[in-house]
Symmetry: C2
Subunit: 359 residues, 2 copies
Amino acid sequence: MTRVTIADVAIAAGVSKTAVSFAFNNPERLGLATLERVLQVANDLGYTPHPAARALSLRRSGTIGLLIPQRLTTVFANPFLSELIQGMGELCDENDLTMLLVPPLDGSLESAIRQASVDGFISVGLSLDDGALETLDRLGIPTVLVDSDVSTRHAAVNVDDARGAEAAATHLLELGHRELAIILLPPTRSQALTPTAARRLAGYRAALNMAGVPEPRMISAGATMAAGALAYEALPKGKRRPTGVLVMSDMAAIGLMAAAASSGFSVPKDLSVVGYDDIPMAAWTTPPLTTVRQPIVEKGRLAARLLIQQMQGRKVDSPPPLETSLVVRGSTSSPKDMGVRRAGHTKSNLAKSGEDQRE
Amino acid sequence: MTRVTIADVAIAAGVSKTAVSFAFNNPERLGLATLERVLQVANDLGYTPHPAARALSLRRSGTIGLLIPQRLTTVFANPFLSELIQGMGELCDENDLTMLLVPPLDGSLESAIRQASVDGFISVGLSLDDGALETLDRLGIPTVLVDSDVSTRHAAVNVDDARGAEAAATHLLELGHRELAIILLPPTRSQALTPTAARRLAGYRAALNMAGVPEPRMISAGATMAAGALAYEALPKGKRRPTGVLVMSDMAAIGLMAAAASSGFSVPKDLSVVGYDDIPMAAWTTPPLTTVRQPIVEKGRLAARLLIQQMQGRKVDSPPPLETSLVVRGSTSSPKDMGVRRAGHTKSNLAKSGEDQRE
DNA sequence: CATCGCCGCTAAACCGCTTTACTAAAGCGG
DNA sequence: CCGCTTTAGTAAAGCGGTTTAGCGGCGATG
């Protein structure tokens, strides 16, 4: 049993291949009688054009690729990607595009890129000096960068990571915390600090420097609850125990809270925790997680919109970074040996909190 | 600027197209000197084979399709799909496959199927009389069904939905609840009750019939927190207010709990809630959600494994359904006007609780 | 009545790669 | 030096569509 091709239909209907092709793509070029006969025959035979053949001939595949820096198993443990896909999905639905997930092919993103039959790529978390980016250029394939650094060569969608991080750190400082720790996003094969992580770190540091607080302890943790729990174990104990932790992902923050709780420490009484992302789950933990909100769905939507414009030949440039905002919930309070002390500089980024709550 | 093709490389290296092709796919058929020269030239030119052309010629694309019954926006709001993809991802990683998300193309799954250049499909939640299934057959493309009914024509991966549901209902009954409500999974365009929903409902009913409890009120709700909150509003108030709710998805259950809480009702004191799926978030709500666990990641893994075997030409048949188990957490207790009354039939499905905790 | 334009359809080229013959040259034993 | 097997490489035929250029016939036009 072999696939029904356009030639089969042509023979069965007593016309040329061209006529069959026209029947589907250019019906007005055929007489009514022929048109109907061809469609009828095609349907009877169960003909369906071969997608690869079509893509080859048309030089477009109707698919956009989502370039993922890690393995599927890892990356889907974090709701971040789900939300991004939701945003992209709106545009895909509207434009009849499907979406190809492109994780590294045995370790190499570049070889994965080559395999992928897509009309454009949205890459997440790629650093600008990554070889994959050069490969993309060389192929001349439209590309939009999400969570990279700004680039002159490509449209890039970003949020204001640094301001968000600064707001988070300022929040802890205003509550009176001085003994802090930072949980970093994990390094990748090619980079110790992803672009996003670097910007967030810069934001934390800006606030800490301003307050004259020394560089805190830093620990890397993947964006999973398990990794967060592990990070908790790695925190200094005893005298230099931090009273507040700045975590670069909600998932790790939640795992860290869990580990703290099961060690008998209470959040926020013994330990304040601030996350990053504001994934849906963050509002539902005990206590609810104070975190920096970034509009992930909007990010996906915007990236897809830009990519589609680019695929249509329009030249687009990077939009300004989307806003982030601190969402204060229950996982932060003043350190217990300190009383309330909600001091000084009231007019801070804190004011932005809760502004960006649409979505 | 046009794409570099195999012919360009051939000319530049002073050899035939065949030689270039051999250099990549059949290096041992070339002399060492030629081989090296060709590869060098190819690399200099930035040559990369055109994926569609390759797929056409090879009759395989290195991609498997995930057939999704709803729009991307909707379906990724539920962590279910993320977990399924995690499982599938393991196998994709091992076998160098990428994954294409195939949602309905302006409403029609069938036309989406035709567009998709894939070597096989994993479909989720398709009912056996769906036209899409016939399309798949006709194309003769390997297919594995997830969350459908059992079929003789296709391999199908399922969990024991009914037993899980029965355990959930039995749990509420044993706690003393008699006034119940059921929150159904939402209908799709083509079916009022998805196969999964039908099996779960059968499970609930089995338990209720056994206990002689009359058919409870039923309400449909999508697998989102918003839909769950809406469902709460639709519950009967006053005298016939249910004391326990059986919800077919965790997301809806969580939304329902939230709505109850903000109406001033306390879970589980005023209302017991049992979910379904045991998504990661379920353990972290307040109170933690009692729910039926199904091994979603394992489901994805198994489906992908079967599909890959099928793509390799092996004939496979459906494995037995995977086990479900009740996970009792904090969202269920005896109805308050009733005392403890943990009555009668102790030896129930309840015993299975917590058994399937790997993953 | 010759001409023009249009309608309806087809032949053939093309998209870019793989693979099956097939050939020319080289190696080799006798 | 001859016939035979290897070796190294090539020409051409697919894979299954789309599309350009063109062709015969026919009604309208001048």
